[in-house]
Amino acid sequence: MIVAALALLLGGLIGVLWNVSVPTGLEPYLPIAVVAALDALFGGLRAKLDKVFDEKVFVVSFIANTVVAALIVFLGDKLGVGAQLSLGVVVVLGIRIFSNVAAIRRHLFKA
């Protein structure tokens, strides 16, 4: 658990120190990537609290969700429905995040 928190902080530190600007081609995928990442994060956290956490599942779920989300956005761009599809992705992942956070809350506060 501590290791996980430290790993996250390390990633944040690198993001703060490494002054990299996002290439414009990747700009539309950034929000999707963030939401997919958050979804994997909270999913993993809930699994940990549910005592069913598995590293392999965590990694695979993160990569799969990110790739699928990016593919959907890319396809949407090509078909001209980019905004709508990315909205759909955000909505679905958002629902999952909410649900996982609620479960985590139940664990933490027994409420």
Binding site: G11, I14, G15, L38, K56, V59, R96
Partner: protein
């Protein structure tokens, strides 16, 4: 958590908020587990990195989006003031149009007034045919011997008589007068030439019919009261001359051709 594969992956994503697989019993060997652990930590680092990058990116974009918004606001302001200027100009043009229309109406009215004035003047001066109620004054020479030349007999109507009769009629309110078909104008002359009386170069003879257009009642009365009318009334008995005044409901007087003035120039007048 059940480990069965749901039939629709999309619905799985939506309904089972925790990833399938977390519930399965892990049977991998420890070595794989250590690798998986390391990768998991790497993924966590990546997640931290991505989230921070996205946050920074949005932060950087903020001034740009703010500037774009401000530029748009400025543009809206400019267009709006441009629109206001155009509206103002449109109002100015409209009010000028109203002014011009009023001026045009006024000019038309002035033109009409001038035209009517011109017509009135023509009628009064004698340059136009006129009709109206009036009186007919008939005077004629009394009986006299044919050899006597004109002017020597007291019973002859002279040009002076006609002058006085016409003057009396003007005085009584006549507006148009003719003698034996000769319309009197502002330049008309009544004079004797040899045996005849000429009105504007046209000879007239006894009986002299003087037609005058005017208000019958007042004109006739005023004419009767005039000195010349009284005098002629007495001539009827004394010299046997003829003197009759009769009213007419409608008299038609012809126009006279008035020559264009050669020496009299109209003085400049301000607009009436």
């Amino acid at each position: 958590m059940s480990s069965q594969m749901p039939k629709e992956p999309v619905m799985e994503l939506l309904l089972r908020h925790i990833d399938h697989g977390y519930g399965a019993i892990n049977t991998a060997p420890p070595a794989t587990r250590r690798v998986a652990r390391a990768v998991a930590i790497g993924v966590l680092v990546v997640i931290g990195f991505v989230v921070t990058i996205a946050f920074r990116d949005t932060l950087q974009d903020a001034p740009r989006t703010e500037r774009t918004k401000q530029a748009l606001i400025d543009q809206i302001g400019q267009k709006r003031s441009g629109l206001e200027a155009l509206e103002e100009r449109s109002q100015q043009v409209e009010s000028r149009m109203v002014d011009e229309r009023t001026a045009a109406d006024r000019a038309a009215r002035d033109q009409r007034r001038a035209d009517n004035h011109g017509k009135d003047v023509s009628a009064v001066v004698g340059a136009a045919e006129v009709y109206g109620p009036g009186v007919i004054v008939t005077v004629a020479d009394g009986p006299h011997s044919g050899e006597q030349s004109r002017g020597s007999s007291a019973s002859t109507v002279t040009d002076r008589d006609l002058h006085e009769l016409v003057n009396a009629l003007w005085q009584a309110g006549a507006e148009a007068i003719e003698i034996d078909g000769q319309r009197l104008t502002t330049t008309s002359a009544i004079r004797t030439a040899g045996e005849a009386i000429l009105v504007d170069f046209q000879a007239v003879s006894s009986p002299y019919e003087i037609r005058a257009i005017g208000e019958i009642g007042s004109m006739r009365q005023a004419f009767y009261d005039s000195a010349v009318a009284q005098r002629f009334q007495s001539y009827v008995d004394t010299y046997g001359m003829r003197f009759e005044v009769q009213a007419a409901a409608r008299l038609d007087l012809p126009a006279s051709s008035i020559a264009r003035p050669r020496k009299a120039h109209p003085a400049p007048t301000e607009g009436r």
